[in-house]
């Protein structure tokens, strides 16, 4: 245990050196391989112990100490948290490539198109061509990505949705600590600041994963509840996602269907008729949705659930009546909505 903590601390220190120190100037191929070896070690340690609460706590404490020391000695130091550990090699690579003191010979080696040499016993794994391989992998995807395929969301969104679900399932599986799962979702949302639409697509993809197992159903449920609690997010989802996607979501999840329906009704109720534009306009804060869009969304909802259609139309009719039951445009959003839906 002691040894492990020591290694952990040393690796974090090494990451700091890799990021900012010009000691990197003296690194050679061996040093580099060794550095990646220790980064891999940390990844391994994480996967071994992240479910063990007691050991996790000890490791977190160690990291806290190490981070503190480094923060005090290195200006602009970026902390390494426990949850960063599974990506330790990546962190090392990013730090090294951003360090102008990294010898060009090592950089050349990382970008070499040659394949790494088979490791001899007792040697550290060769990192030749590490970056070259990453670039190639990304390029192959870019070459293939314009091609139309069977997915409505796209390969990247699907994978992202799966990643979200996997983590969520794992967190929920660990016990009744739902706050951790909530914290996770919150941090992803925060990380997507400035890219809200992307985040909504990820949530949609997550909700559309179909493993058909209890863990997934529970996770879906949790996610839907979380969405409902985050009402503004839910509204953004309904305004940013395509009607087709929303239809699919409503088809899969009753909770979503109901929430979706409520959002649409709320929007309709908040619309006012603008004489200048001669159309209904949403004036409240929140996403802007045109009347036309609102109609499309209602239609998508009905497509997802034909049984819902009758009930909603009845509701709309009742509301229209309460507005005076006029058939003139611009007087009742409910009336106009009904006629738009029935054309």
């Amino acid at each position: 245990m002691e040894a492990m903590l020591k290694n952990l601390a040393s690796t974090v220190e090494m990451l700091a050196v890799a990021a900012q120190s010009d000691a990197v100037k003296h690194w050679d191929k061996q040093t580099l391989s060794r550095a990646f070896h220790w980064a891999r070690y940390c990844e391994h340690v994480f996967s071994r112990f992240h479910n063990n609460a007691a050991i996790r706590r000890i490791m977190e404490k160690q990291l806290q100490l190490t981070n503190q020391t480094l923060r005090d000695t290195i200006p602009g130091y970026t902390e390494v948290s426990f949850s960063d550990l599974p990506r330790c090699q990546h962190l090392l690579l990013v730090r090294l490539l951003n360090n102008p003191e990294l010898p060009s010979s090592l950089m050349k080696m990382l970008f070499d198109t040659a394949r790494p040499v088979k490791t001899m016993h007792g040697e550290y794994e060769d990192v030749t061509g590490l970056c070259s391989h990453i670039v190639q992998c990304k390029s192959v995807y870019k070459v293939l990505s314009p091609l139309a395929d069977m997915s409505a969301l796209g390969a990247d969104a699907e994978v992202q949705g799966e990643m979200l679900m996997e983590r969520l399932e794992a967190l929920l599986n660990q016990g009744s600590e739902t706050c951790r799962a909530e914290h996770f979702l919150g941090s992803v949302l925060q990380g997507c600041e400035g890219a809200l639409q992307q985040f909504c697509v990820v949530i949609a993809a997550a909700l559309l994963t179909s493993k058909n197992c209890a863990a997934q159903t529970a996770a879906h449920d949790f996610l839907l509840d979380w969405l409902q609690k985050n009402h503004s997010l839910l509204q953004h989802m309904c305004s940013l996602l395509s009607p087709t996607l929303l239809r699919d979501l409503a088809k899969e999840h009753q909770k979503f269907r109901d929430a979706f329906c409520n959002v649409l009704k709320k929007w309709a109720s908040e619309m006012e008729y603008s004489l200048n534009d001669s159309e209904w306009v949403l004036t409240s804060t929140g996403p802007t949705v045109s009347f036309k869009k609102l109609t499309e969304l209602f239609l998508a909802l009905f497509e997802a659930s034909p049984s819902l259609k009758g009930g909603v139309e009845k509701e709309l009719n009742a509301l229209k009546i309460s507005d005076g039951d006029f058939d003139v445009t611009g007087l009742s959003v409910w009336g106009d909505l009904l006629s738009a839906l029935n054309t």
Partner: protein, 531 residues
């Protein structure tokens, strides 16, 4: 790079640099490719890839010869722009060669000891580009998820790629369906196969490519373009292809040139390593060539000959061989007569073509030629002429270029001599007969001699099937081989004859077996005596 020169000194100018026009051309291309992402742009990019590689190679050489980055920037002011743009073009970075050249050029612009601000800036720029290429994440959501779920970037990108490949495979797996507009869905598959051209050698794409190759041909639309098949064939010849067996066989099925390539490389490996007939058999069996349906590969061959030639001797009763070969021989004779008749009117290409195809097919099915020799030798009083003709045709298919008729006459002579030598009637061996035979076989300055393989074939078969005792037969063979110097050929023919007889279990008679053993002993002895 060599030491920098101070800028005050005049630059040493030699031959003019790379054409300015060329540079402009590629820069314009790079800009155009970067702006659009349409199928046309993709096609254009793929079409220009090999030229671009050559250009980059030239560029690399040129820049290498310059003494400093400052000089390079002066002489090729647009170089940085070009390289920078190409770095973000996936078609360029996906291929090992072009990526290597591109990065090589970039590194040529790097200065170990920057002597001015320009060089320093260049260094910074190069590092930045490389860092961005490998670690920058454009997708915000992806970045957030990676951080929050602890999935490293490399793993993420691999996952996404595999997912995309799987989705495309679903597409390819779909059978042809007609849409409302009466255009079938195969168009999408065509697009996929075209898109795979730059990535044929990438292992991540191999499962997709395998599926494309093995997709059942359902409609008129040609799904696999020539360019796609060519790309696969050249990758295969560079040994850069990682396809599973079935997919490889499918590739041969779609593209004759790739099959040719496979056959040639097999032959090459045989020639260079000098395999014995046994090892050759092993090698051929190991290569996939035996598992393919030969019929699919000889669409040009005369159909009447196809099945009879492709049928193995072991697949029919021995008693039927004679008739079979008689028929084959007369069919081929007729073909050659037609060809020769057609020679006169100048419209004779069809005839030549037919003879060539038939001969080519015969060569693939040489097992029948071997049987013909065996039957000739064991004919006794029956007419062996058709078999001799077949043997001659195998070696000398035409009159015009191979002098078949005159070679036939010569062969008949040789055959007579051989028969006499092995008849046992003469003892000791008639030296005049022996001499005549040797003369016929040895290369002469004015005339064409008989192909050694032909004579040796006759010789060995007679030695094996004659009525002489094993030692007697061996004695005669030794004499002939000694005088004509055809030891290696004899050894080869003998071992392949033994192989064939063993296989077909035609080794019914012990005497034949004993004779073979004795002959082998003799040859081995001659080999060791000779060294």
């Amino acid at each position: 790079m060599s030491e920098q020169q101070p800028l005050s000194q005049p630059l040493q100018t030699e031959e003019p640099l790379l054409n300015d026009q060329e540079m402009q051309f590629w820069l314009d291309k790079a800009v155009a490719w970067g702006q659009a992402d349409s199928p046309d742009t993709q096609k254009d990019t793929c079409l220009h890839m090999s030229r671009l590689r050559d250009f980059l190679q030239q560029l690399l050489t040129q820049v290498n010869s310059m003494s400093s980055t400052t000089e390079t920037m002066k002489r090729l002011p647009f170089l940085g722009q070009l390289l920078g743009r190409l770095c973000w073009n996936p078609y360029v970075t996906v291929c090992d060669t072009s990526r290597g050249l591109l990065l090589g050029c970039l590194w040529e612009l790097y200065s170990e000891r920057p002597s001015n601000a320009v060089e320093q800036k260049a260094n910074q720029w190069i590092r930045k580009v490389l860092c961005q290429l490998s670690t920058e994440e454009e997708d915000t959501a992806a970045q957030a998820l990676m951080k929050c779920t602890g999935v490293p970037a490399k793993e993420y990108h691999l996952k996404v790629l595999r997912k995309k490949v799987a989705l495309l495979q679903e597409n390819v797996g779909q059978s042809c369906t007609l849409f409302n507009s009466q255009r079938c869905s195969c168009d999408r598959i065509v697009a996929i196969s075209e898109a795979c051209i730059p990535i044929v050698a990438c292992p991540e794409a191999s499962s997709l490519i395998s599926l494309l190759l093995q997709r059942p041909v359902a409609c008129v639309t040609e799904v696999l373009s020539e360019d796609f098949l060519d790309a696969l064939t050249s990758a295969y010849s560079r040994q850069g292809l990682a396809l599973e067996e079935q997919a490889l066989v499918s590739l041969w099925y779609h593209s004759f040139s790739s099959l040719e390539e496979a056959v040639l490389s097999l032959l090459q490996s045989v020639i260079t390593t000098g395999l014995t007939p046994q090892k050759l058999e092993q090698q051929v069996a190991q290569s996939l060539l035996t598992s393919i349906s030969v019929k699919a590969f000889f669409p040009q061959s005369p159909s009447s000959l196809l099945v009879p030639l492709l049928t193995m001797p072991s697949e029919m009763p021995q008693g039927a061989w004679r008739n079979h070969l008689n028929w084959l021989s007369s069919s081929l004779q007729r073909l050659t007569e037609e060809e020769e008749e057609g020679d006169g009117d100048g419209r004779s290409t069809r005839g030549h073509h037919n003879v060539f195809e038939a001969w080519f097919l015969l060569v693939q099915c040489a097992h029948w030629v071997q049987v013909a020799v065996q039957l000739l030798v064991t004919s006794g009083t029956e007419d062996g002429d058709p078999f001799l003709w077949l043997l001659i045709f195998y070696h000398y298919p035409t009159n015009r270029w191979h002098h078949r008729a005159s070679q036939l006459a010569r062969a008949k002579e040789a055959w007579n001599h051989i028969r006499t030598l092995f008849s046992g009637a003469a003892h000791p061996l008639p030296s005049d007969r022996l001499q005549s035979l040797v003369t016929l076989v040895s290369p002469q300055p004015e005339q064409q001699s008989l192909a050694p393989s032909l004579t040796v074939s006759l010789l060995v078969n007679v030695a094996v099937f004659c009525q002489l005792s094993p030692s007697g037969s061996a004695e005669v063979l030794q004499a002939v081989v000694d005088q004509s110097g055809l030891l290696d050929e004899a050894a080869c023919v003998l071992s392949s004859l033994e192989l064939r007889l063993n296989e077909g279990s035609c080794l019914s008679r012990d005497t034949v077996h004993l004779r073979i053993k004795e002959l082998q002993k003799t040859i081995t002895q001659m080999h060791s005596d000779g060294t």
